[in-house]
Symmetry: C3
Subunit: 389 residues, 3 copies
């Protein structure tokens, strides 16, 4: 429990303003708050490893709204809220319910009378997911101010069109664990690279979340993708500013090889082209199935030109000492295993397979930390109580 | 906590016989029991507002059976059982399982070995929902008497064909809060009025629940609807008797205007004609899709004759001082928002929107109160423990 | 509480090695462990009857994976984990997720970070269900050994292609309760008999579980079925060995009448022919709908030759004093009630109906006992704490 005491001491020194707030984008949080979040997640993980209860609530509801399929994030959220002592209630939302603002305002309030937290995944349409989360947050804020709700639940972003903060913070925690400290990340090169996948339309939020967060800790961030696969320009600009401020660098490469050269960390992952996502949204809204099929055909044909963007042994040999840390949010498209040709060669993935499971293992504790910091006024005191005896 | 102490003192004086029983119809409960129920719900709500835990169970199962879609009631029930410390298990019942009595008897028992409460929503067919709840109650009673079950779970009506007690009691609590006391309801006029909606087949249980309960507290209850939209005759007769006994009045009006004149409270809401519901049940049973479509066409055409039954500004001006309390169980069909022409004008609804959310906010506490009174022998003592310190 | 103290004293004397292990087949457990399991289940049941809390966990996740519809087992598992203080998370697995081993390995780990137990039902295909459970167990074992998981969750078999241990142990507990002790089972004749049902493809795991377990306690086990309806040969051989070792007998009969003659217990239940299950598996894998339909027609036609295999009053009169105990895992196919011609005559079932509910009532406590023995190091001490004051 020595590590826990050290972490608690560090935590007590950090200034944070998280109580009662939502967690929607990592870049809305100060460096100090991110550092505190990592410490809280580490303490919770260490307590759990030591067999301690993480229960801080006697009861209370955690609501999940998943507008896209999810296994990992669903179980991470379920695990986190259960560990803290909350009960889970899933809102299985009909498509029609988002048709007009009235319903979001109303629904957000009538489900929240005893809610502590609302976790939302909405990553399908560019320009919509994060906006929806803010609509929900505004609705419960109004409800709280006008006496509808006794408490104002906190909204936690479980992946939107812009960011995937529970993933990127878990990944940062994995990097901290791998290299020993946040300070040790300084000067390390991380390659966030597009990779080929036979599927279509994967969200941009993981690469955006990674470049938006890792650029804040002095890393040399390289974003690599084929022409036409750029991310939301505002997020790329933000990553560039972060790097300048944190003493790192931010560059864009046009080949996976360039990105991987001397990299300490590689994160090869498929995503859809920004422009395709923009064209897809109105088609989905109109229910234009023919249009969607044509767009998919076009996009897959274009994708197929970039089958060389596979994280294989040759490219891994380009990384620092040929042994960069491989990261992935899972599930990966593994060539010859889950698809004929994919994001990563089987031998590379197999060597790092257990590492990617460990990486995923930080997520439940990051979510629990987000909830704890949003809902408990004196977080350090609460953790001290859990650690006592 | 002064309010809580006052309410506890009042509660201690009321005679109730609720332990181990079901809650199926408000009119099966004495006035004293209804008053106690309101007090318990208020105490739970005040405790929650004060940030206190409402946990009275260490574990135990609450089963929900929803035979119709539901968001509000589902979350109200989930919130209530979680707050009390119970776990929720939803029975996702196949249509076939009600085919014969054998299965209801069997299923009710084999799911109830560790159950404290069974909440049921079954409001689709006239003559069926309440009967089904009684079948379930009889089955677990038999199981308890014959040593199958260690405890006999209580059945709570979450809306049936006859009554919607969690709604009507929450509405009564909203009225008590609005006017200051139950005594202040005496002589107040409440207009339970049919309203136009482009949808078809809404259950009768809300208006029946309202007239069956509000008539017991000296209110002047007016039921208004177009010809052919009458409620179950027995419930109307009961409301009439209640009014006579409680010193109020009960009248039936044939226009929304007449009902609204000088009303203190208006409750404009659509429902299906009783006779249509009666014709619909055998068609549904036979799976006669053509017959159902023809009936829907006929009903919607008939409905369309009554588009004037909208709660608009002109009608609201007829109410006492032009400022009656507007009530609705939500979701309302709002003209120009959720439909072209509906139950209520947008400006009227918007003015009362937050009020309807507050009205909905009583429901989780009413459900929790029903469960507490059914499952805990000395309810006052349990609440005192929650209120202590 | 005298019974509880007696049972605790007996329990303390039994040698068991169950902590941290899975429960996949009863025959992987020693007689002493089975006896301990019965005692723990009885103690939990008695504590519950006395209104005591069974809570031993502050939090923690129980994961369920149901690859086949289930009401009874689902609720038994939900009840058991709730009673112990765990939260339930159901993995609603897509069909595609079992397509290759990679995904099972990965999914098992990424859902298990805070899991205590994983309950799995997978009884559709011969050769698959139990194998899948072992894949999941191996995956979390690897994850635990390599530091992915802080704890290694236990897998509990909620019915597979080979065994249905929660059912057979609950049935053994019902027999122990009926006859007074395990010792009283010695020399009793139990007839596990095939019975006619208009349905097709019922799993073999119940009869296999029954003959595999009851043969260990000195009973005279008779397995009866029409030609072609044999069980997995290895399980039949195992039952034969068990009987020889335990001082009982094991015989195979070719008519229900022979099996029932002088039986103390009858268990008439339909199942699919082993050979048909073997032919069905590749058809299902290939999605060969025509082939499946043809096989079903053939099988139902064959089935229809054995409509005489009904547990009727005449056959019941053949049993010891005409009053054998009738057992069934439910739901039974009752002639004239749930089908025209089925496994059991209405009058026979009705006489034993409540008995079958009681039989089902042991299951939640058996599951809770399996979890407790797998997860709590000193089970006797934990039960003593629950029993205290």
């Amino acid at each position: 429990m020595k590590t826990i005491q050290d972490s608690l001491a560090q935590l007590a020194k950090l200034e944070t303003d998280t109580h009662g707030r939502d967690f929607l984008l990592t870049w809305e949080r100060t460096d100090s708050e991110i550092r505190a979040l990592l410490l809280v997640a580490e303490i919770l993980s260490e307590l759990h490893r030591a067999g301690r209860s993480l229960r801080v609530f006697e009861s209370g509801l955690a609501i999940s709204i998943f507008r896209d399929n999810s296994t990992r994030t669903r179980f991470s959220f379920a695990s986190a809220v259960n560990a803290l002592g909350l009960g889970l209630a899933d809102l299985d939302e009909g498509k029609s319910q988002i048709a007009h603002g009235e319903t979001v305002r109303e629904t957000a309030n009538v489900i929240s009378f005893l809610a502590e937290v609302i976790g939302i995944r909405d990553d399908m349409f560019l320009g919509e997911g994060n906006a929806y989360m803010r609509q929900v947050a505004a609705a419960v804020q109004e409800g709280f101010e006008k006496g509808v709700l006794h408490q104002r639940p906190s909204v936690v972003n479980l992946q939107c069109d812009v960011d995937h903060p529970t993933q990127s913070v878990a990944d940062l925690l994995a990097l901290k664990a791998h290299f020993g400290s946040l300070e040790a990340l300084r000067g390390r090169k991380i390659a966030m690279s597009w990779a080929y996948s036979p599927s279509y339309g994967k969200p941009l939020s993981v690469p955006q979340g990674i470049i938006g967060l890792m650029s804040r800790f002095g890393m040399n961030v390289v974003l690599a993708h084929p022409e036409g696969y750029g991310l939301i320009p505002e997020v790329v600009a933000l990553a560039r500013q972060n790097s300048a401020k944190s003493g790192g660098t931010f560059t864009v490469a046009t080949s996976m090889e360039d990105a991987f050269r001397d990299a300490d960390v590689v994160y090869p992952k498929s995503w859809a082209p920004f422009s395709v996502m923009q064209r897809r949204t109105p088609l989905l809204r109109q229910g234009d199935r023919e249009g969607l099929k044509a767009l998919e055909r076009e996009c897959l044909a274009n994708n197929a030109r970039f089958k060389g963007w596979e994280c294989d042994e040759a490219k891994m040999r380009l990384t620092r000492a040929g042994s960069a840390l491989y990261m992935h949010c899972l599930p990966a498209d593994i060539s010859g295993v889950s698809c004929a040709e994919g994001e990563v060669a089987e031998s590379v993935f197999e060597r790092h397979r257990i590492g990617t499971y460990r990486e995923a293992g930080f997520k439940p504790f990051v979510i629990a930390a987000m909830i704890l910091m949003a809902r408990v006024k004196n977080c350090t005191a609460a953790l001290r109580r859990l650690a006592k005896d």
